[in-house]
Symmetry: C2
Subunit: 213 residues, 2 copies
């Protein structure tokens, strides 16, 4: 079996290309070159071609890529040719924002259950969904066939939440709590830390100032 290891950065860029192609398609553009994609998302043309080359040959030499086709291919590669039901824990402000975030729905993600252990939140509605107590999670996972969970609780509660998610069969976790979580082998996790990139900015601003000295 040919085990090609795809760099995570390639998958990240594929996601970005994919959304850029959707925009071109909405604008009625039918053909695009690696150079135009590169220009549109801020990478090099060679990078675009190399990233695509991990998965096949999608273009026509001398011509470029068919926008609609390449859009479909990239989405399929990312697993976005299907809908993904999501389980969300944490009905605070961040949870609320995620529930109503358009960027999820437009890519086939749908939050199908919102959970919290705060009695003052349980029973309230977020968008169309009633906030449920944690004990209801198994049944919601079962009903929708959910495989992915989102953690939007404070750091100190996060480990307990993912343990519960894993116990109930979720296979992948998107974690918004700024803390490293321990998970069993085979469970995928990615962290979105809202302030890390802000700290990269302050680092760079400080560095820039320092160079004037």
């Amino acid at each position: 079996m040919k085990t090609l290891r795809v760099p995570e950065a390639t998958v990240t860029r594929l996601s970005v290309y994919s959304r850029f192609l959707e925009r071109l398609d909405r604008n009625g553009i039918t053909t695009v070159s690696s150079g135009e994609i590169a220009e549109g998302v801020g990478v090099s043309p060679a990078q675009v071609r190399k990233d695509l080359a991990y998965f096949g040959e999608f273009g026509t030499r001398g011509v470029g890529y068919n926008v609609k086709d390449l859009m479909r291919y990239t989405k399929k590669i990312l697993g976005l040719d299907q809908n993904w039901p999501l389980i969300l824990v944490g009905a605070g402000n961040l949870g609320y924002a995620l529930c109503t975030y358009k960027g999820f729905n437009s890519r086939g993600f749908q939050i199908v259950g919102v959970f919290d252990n705060d009695l003052t939140k349980i029973g309230k509605k977020i968008a169309e969904l009633e906030v449920l107590p944690m004990e209801k999670m198994p049944e919601v996972i079962e009903k929708h066939g959910a495989r992915i969970g989102i953690v939007a609780v404070p750091p100190r509660a996060a480990q307990e939440v993912v343990d519960y998610m894993v116990k109930n069969g979720l296979e992948a976790i998107l974690n918004f709590a700024p803390v490293a979580l321990n998970l069993p082998e085979g469970i995928e996790i990615r962290n979105v830390d809202l302030s890390v990139k802000l700290e990269i900015l302050t680092f760079n601003l400080g560095f820039k100032s320092a160079q004037h000295l």
Copy 2:
């Protein structure tokens, strides 16, 4: 002048180490080794030492690092020895969540102005702040000496927003809109795309399934 280029990944990890050290400090732990930091945040011990080595010698051979000191050093390196006023554009659900996000305040970030061009939102209060029309931005930037702006508007509005931010003197942008933005030379930008990491998860889940075939 010794121009050492610090990898962005190093700065990212520094931010993570820094928060881990804060937690150790809160728990009353006074000394820590590179191995313990590595364990706590999920990287290699050599990586921890190498990352720190870009900036100086902070440890004691045979002993490790003083938690409080290293915490202060890492925060200082990241520019977090000062407070950072932030300008936020977009008073939707995401904007609301960012305004109330504890993870910002605990690192010295403070949103000092929230702006929107939606007349139904202007005048409303988010936390302590009144949502202001865009025209008020120059005066708020001036008043607080803000240098960083956060974009939490829909993709199609984002370019116009950053243009306006840059015109009014902001030097760094944290962009939550899933679109590549064009900025003049010298302006720092970082994107936080809420769904990219979700798509890495779906990619990996698909890949895992494929390997069973």
